[in-house]
């Protein structure tokens, strides 16, 4: 169990995170927030890369700073921008990382080969990484994070650069991994976590906004998401009055997906739809006037949108 207790983080005078209380058991946790919301900082704190300015992070009841090497032993980490020497082959690169993870040479080789096969890079394991596409590099990154069969796996934007097929395969991998360990991944691509994550953590203004199952989070917008056919003249009015979640050009007008404030009486022509996680994301992180932030920063069904 990874426990975040009253954690805050400042860079100089800038407060990035504040009063976070979280618990991560076995399973997949998706960290959802727009860019600059403190996702990467939180992941770095969880990986032990940064010390919190206030509060503490515990693994199995012991602070990460005390566990030190023992924590790193069970940790797998994929940074947002992970590095490599372009002239290295993925196999050589994996073997280097296996060595600094303390694996013996034979195990390092077999595990590296096994993981490169898992991310479908087995056939190019002897090719220089400078010839790889962004997606292939990202898959090497995912493979390296799994080298030591970690109990805590932290992945920062793991799907960046992956094509839809690779994303689907990655989601399947995540589900399998989450059965035996704690997997925490950050993303701003909602579909990456919607199906694979057991719980979603959403941050707002450096504080925890919600941590719950995806279905429960979607319910927060239940009865407030609609679709409607609109003409060119109607659409501008909708854009200013409601939160736009999607729009598609159709013959003779537009099809709009939008969310309304609680208590709004829907028009007859509107068709109510089930809200998805992306709808919640867009609704919560919409451009707001100063001071107009969602009320309540508490967990579960007490959250008001």
């Amino acid at each position: 169990m990874l426990t975040v207790h009253g954690v805050g983080k400042r860079y100089g005078n800038a407060r990035v995170l504040e009063g976070l209380d979280l618990e991560f058991g076995k399973g997949v946790y998706g960290l959802l927030a727009p860019n600059g919301a403190g996702k990467t900082t939180l992941l770095k704190l969880l990986a032990g890369l940064l010390p919190p300015t206030e509060g503490e992070i515990l693994y199995e009841g012991q602070p990460l700073a005390v566990l030190d090497e023992r924590y790193r032993l069970i940790l797998g980490y994929l940074p947002q921008r992970f590095g490599y020497y372009p002239n290295d082959t993925p196999l050589k690169y994996m073997q280097y990382l296996a060595a600094i993870k303390g694996m013996d040479r034979r195990k390092a080789l077999s595990r590296s080969e096994e993981l490169l096969d898992l991310v479908a890079l087995g056939e190019v394991k002897h090719k220089k990484m400078k010839t790889f596409s962004g997606g292939m590099i990202q898959r090497v990154g995912i493979a390296q994070a799994l080298l030591n069969d970690p109990r805590v796996l932290i992945l920062d934007e793991p799907t960046a650069g992956l094509d839809p097929k690779e994303r689907a395969r990655f989601r399947s991998l995540l589900t399998q991994l989450g059965r035996q360990r704690t997997v925490i991944l950050s993303t701003h691509v909602v579909s990456d976590v919607e199906s694979a994550a057991n719980e979603i953590v959403m941050l707002q203004g450096g504080k925890l906004w919600v941590k719950d199952h995806p279905e429960a989070i979607c319910k927060l917008l239940a009865g407030r998401v609609y679709e409607a056919q609109l003409t060119d003249t109607e659409i501008e009015d909708f854009r200013t009055r409601y939160v736009l979640l999607g729009e598609r050009s159709e013959p003779g007008g537009w099809k709009l997906r939008f969310a309304v404030e609680d208590g709004t009486v829907p028009a007859d022509s509107w068709q109510g739809v089930e809200p998805g996680l992306e709808d919640v994301f867009l609704y919560v992180y919409r451009d707001r006037q100063p001071g107009n932030v969602p009320s309540g920063t508490i967990w579960g069904d007490e959250v008001r949108l």
């Binding site: 100089g12 890369l49 030190d68 790193r72 940790l75 992970f82 590095g83 490599y84 600094i100 303390g102």
Partner: protein, 395 residues
Amino acid sequence: MNPSGSAWRLNLRLVGLEFQKLFMLKRLGLTVFILLCGGLWLYPFQVLYPNSQFPDYETTIAAGMKAKYGTLIDDREWEAFKQDRVKKVAEADAYIREDPLFASANLDSYERYVRRAQMPNGGTQPLDAHIRAGTKKELFAKLHAEEEWIKRYEDDYRWTVGPGTIWMNEAEKQRLQEIEARDGVSVLPQRQIYHYASSGILYRLAMTAMLTTVLLVMHIHIGDRRAGLDELQRTSRMGKNRLLWIKTTAALLTGTLVSAVLLVILLIAYRFSEAWSLMGADISGRFGGFFMYDLTFLQYILLTYSAVFGLSWIAALLTAFYSAIAPNMQVLVMAIILTLFIFFKEDWILTRLLNMLLYSGISLLEPTLTVAGLLLLGVFLISVAGKWRTWRLHR
């Protein structure tokens, strides 16, 4: 499996992997290119294989004597040497007698020619030039070198009570007596000591070793940071601090390897030169110099060359420190240039240190302590680099 044994094996493997990174083909190529441009490492070949314009007859004479008499020349052997020389003088006499230019200068023997040449207004310059352009150039040059040789052997005043000796302390005077009490005089010529010392071979090889070490080691930390490996290393089991020391070991091994390669180059340069036969000769003697230690020339070279290893280690430690803390390559390069300048600047660290070693009428303790002090400073700075990183994270 013994856990500590496997930890050692793992550390060694990591050092090996760091080594591979430092010796990347591209970097190695750049280093070799820079060294070739500088050409410092070629210096031993330049001085040990003089061209015909500036031949080293002193070493030729010494090598010839060593072949005939061994490394110590006694009085009997000295007489034999002078006897051999008589034949050469006769050959020079014959040449002078037959040459009309010498006749017009009223000279009929080599001895008179030499005496005239030593006069303040002897007017032998045209004759000297005439000899240098003629077929007996080498004969005259060798005879001249032998004269210097004889002077040095027979001039007791200069060696035992000359101006230098009045500054000697009791221990040095006693040492002088010991050298004089031997059965003969060491055949090693002063020129060989001069080639090796002064601003000669050792100085240039030390510069080469430091420069090469710096060029190879400078990427050791900053290279990983630039490649973006930093976070992966910090979250690995080894952690950044243990990797810091593993990298430091790799840097020190690089310095060792560079120094060892240069030592091999030096020994190859000597092996195929005339000086090789003089390696067993004592460094102290009328032909060579005055040293407090009983060392052969080879022992002296190996002992003093240890300074090159020490300086390479210092260069490796300082460069690793800069590489760990420099925010970018520009700052790193500036720091390295400044450090090398401080080391290489005439009469500053490098020259002073080597002079302490090379002309050691004084104790070896002083240069040893200097090198040890600089090494300790390097180790201290590396530990500072580790703490500095932690401090930055907590800011």
